[in-house]
């Protein structure tokens, strides 16, 4: 044996991989045509896109009407047998879609709110933005106060009072979603910790709350908040209609968030708790410094997923008479001035684009976080 032992004396230089395994041809072979099933699926997908994409582009762009003052621009005539989206309708009513009945000369306040909110979101979430502690302070303390002063009115700064019944459109959708998202996370964390608590009363309350709220539809919660509450509380004590809906949405979202956070807590190994305890950390120090930072980090994709669902669920506030974005489109599309066969479709297409863009951005964010976590050393 010993005499035949093989010993390499030089290192073999690295060689490029065979051509059919990389480059465009290799990619196509591997991903689109690797077997009969894959080939069939590729062809089916191509056929589907072949049918869908031209139809969509024709309606939205090529056959669409881009200028006009009323329904005359968008109706089918002998010269124009095919009519696509009626964009002048959207252009004319865009302010209604964004602000609802918010007084026209006060709308700059809403615009300022949007800008402040966008700054907060980017500052808090973008990985390159510095000063996360200041960002959190701005987002969770400064921004809410400023927003209430701006949107509702603040006499010392001569911002006149605008009742929430005049709010509408994208403004309401954004306010309801933002409040739901911002409040559901801390409430959800508390409920999740409560559900894992060793104190029976705390645990029981958390379980009952979570299971009760998860067991009823959001519509029921909203009805309870807006119809039932005034029956029990005197008129002058009963809070604003929008505020009631906001509380309902926040509590509803918190119950779902609690379960998402609990899943994250369960993924943290017991050794982390023991390591923290052995150093003498108290329960809240252990949770706040060791367990939650890790649990929330791995839960971010699921938190965003819940938030996407919540964002779309906010349209349900229309059933208690609040004019959210979708409701403004509902109201505008039956306007006789723009009564054409394509008006409703155009309105809904506009709504779809808006909701898609918002949700898509959220999911892109979740994706980027996932990538950062997968490659990062912070686990």
């Amino acid at each position: 044996m010993g005499a035949q032992a093989f010993v390499r004396s030089e290192t073999i230089p690295a060689m490029p991989p065979p051509a059919r395994e990389h480059g465009l041809a290799g990619w196509l072979r591997e991903h689109l045509f690797s077997g009969p099933l894959n080939i069939a699926l590729t062809l089916l997908s191509v056929l589907f896109l072949w049918w869908l994409v031209p139809t969509l582009l024709n309606f939205l762009i090529f056959d669409a009407t881009w200028t006009g003052d009323d329904r005359a621009a968008c109706i089918v005539t002998a010269e124009r047998p095919r009519v696509g989206a009626c964009w002048p309708f959207v252009f004319e009513r865009i302010n209604f879609f964004i602000y609802g009945f918010y007084p026209a000369n006060e709308r700059w306040r809403v615009d300022t709110f949007f800008v402040l909110l966008a700054i907060g979101i980017v500052w808090l979430l973008a990985s390159w933005a510095p000063g996360k502690r200041a960002a959190a302070l701005y987002f969770f303390v400064v921004l809410p106060v400023l927003s209430v002063m701006l949107l509702l009115g603040f006499a010392p700064l001569r911002l006149s009072y605008v009742p929430t019944s005049l709010w509408g459109g994208i403004l309401v959708t954004v306010v309801v979603s933002a409040v739901g998202i911002v409040f559901s996370l801390p409430l959800g964390v508390i409920l999740a910790l409560g559900r894992r608590s060793s104190m029976p009363a705390v645990r029981l309350f958390s379980i009952v709350f979570i299971e009760f709220v998860r067991g009823v539809p959001l519509i029921t919660v909203l009805f309870m908040a807006s119809v039932m509450l005034p029956l029990f509380v005197p008129e002058e004590w009963s809070p604003d209609k929008l505020l009631r809906a906001l509380i309902g949405v926040a509590l509803f979202a918190a119950a779902y968030m609690a379960e998402v956070v609990r899943a994250g807590l369960q993924a943290i190994p017991r050794g982390q708790y023991e390591g923290a305890q052995a150093l003498g950390l108290s329960y809240w120090q252990m949770m706040g410094l060791i367990i939650l930072p890790q649990a929330l980090r791995i839960t971010i994709p699921n938190i965003v997923n819940s938030n996407i669902a919540l964002f779309k669920d906010t349209t349900l506030v229309f059933i208690v008479g609040i004019f959210d974005f979708l409701r403004t489109i509902e109201a505008a599309r039956i306007d006789p001035k723009w009564a054409t066969p394509v008006t409703s479709t155009t309105g809904y297409a506009f709504a779809a684009i808006f909701y898609f863009l918002c949700c898509w951005m959220m999911s892109r964010y979740a994706k980027s976080v996932e990538r950062r976590l997968a490659t990062g050393h912070r686990r």
Binding site: G271, Q272, E274, G275, A276, Q277, A278, L279, G280, L281, S282, Q285, L289, I290, P293, Q294, R297, H377, R378, R379
Partner: protein
């Protein structure tokens, strides 16, 4: 350091750890049966025995990661009860090193080391970092301070874990199979650190299968089986002349 603890340190007759008639059950299962062990200040105890014999459970009772149902455990004169204040008081004075390191993966090595001094001892950050650097120097990895635990080898992680426990300036150190999860090449560097620590006069209770370490460092070796202490003896006597049949069998299996 508070006046009170100084007073306690002054009383030389108070043992570091005193376990009297301790029993523990996991549900119906009687894991620890009538454990009696007194550890003097500065003493190094090695606890060995077959797996499942209750070694880890016993030392975890000392800093109350496990509770017990009968008997009593006093650490540095403080009786461990259900009183959370006392448990925290004891945990501050008892450092623990785990089989799986249990470093905090989302914090850097430096943050791992300074977290407890800053939050539990209320130490200024600057001072905590100076102490952390001192102990990193002592476990010979000062250059890794700004890395995350995941970037270190197992042996380095365990040395960070030892440094983390030392940063709290503990009076007693517990080691729960500190080398069992390491690759063979890394066992030596961790044992070396532990030997140096032992030479510095630290009170240590070590659960381990490393008999070479036991022979070199231990003042007494405790042999456990089926939740009971079967034999306590000085190393020379323990290896050369084991009293209990079970000890003889155990030694014949692990020493070749």
């Amino acid at each position: 350091m508070s006046e009170e603890s100084n007073k306690r340190q002054g009383a030389a007759d108070v043992p570091a750890v005193e376990i009297v008639g301790m029993h523990k059950w996991f549900g119906e299962f009687h894991v620890l049966r009538d454990i009696n062990l007194t550890v003097a200040r500065g003493e190094r105890i090695v606890i060995c025995g077959p797996s499942g014999s209750g070694k880890s459970t016993m030392i975890r009772c000392i800093n109350r990661l496990e509770d017990y149902q009968r008997g009593r455990v006093a650490v540095d004169g403080v009786l461990l009860t259900n009183d959370l204040k006392r448990i925290d008081e004891v945990r501050r004075e008892v450092g623990m090193v785990f089989q799986h390191f249990n470093l905090f993966p989302h914090l850097t090595v430096m943050e791992n080391l300074t977290l407890a001094p800053i939050w539990v001892r209320k130490m200024p950050k600057k001072e905590a970092e100076d102490i952390a650097r001192h102990y990193l120097e002592r476990v010979r990895i000062p250059e890794q301070a700004h890395k995350y635990p995941g970037q270190l080898s197992g042996g380095q992680q365990q040395r960070v874990a030892i440094a983390r426990a030392l940063c709290m300036n503990p009076k007693i150190m517990l080691f729960d199979e500190p080398t069992s999860a390491l690759d063979p090449e890394m066992v030596k560097e961790v044992l070396q650190t532990m030997v140096e620590l032992a030479e510095s006069g630290m009170t240590m209770l070590v659960v381990t299968h490393e008999m070479g370490f036991a022979r070199q460092v231990a003042d007494r070796i405790v042999f456990m089986d089926e939740g009971q202490i079967l034999e306590i003896n000085a190393p020379a006597e323990f290896f050369a002349n084991p009293k209990h049949e079970r000890t003889k069998l155990f030694l014949s299996q692990i020493l070749h």
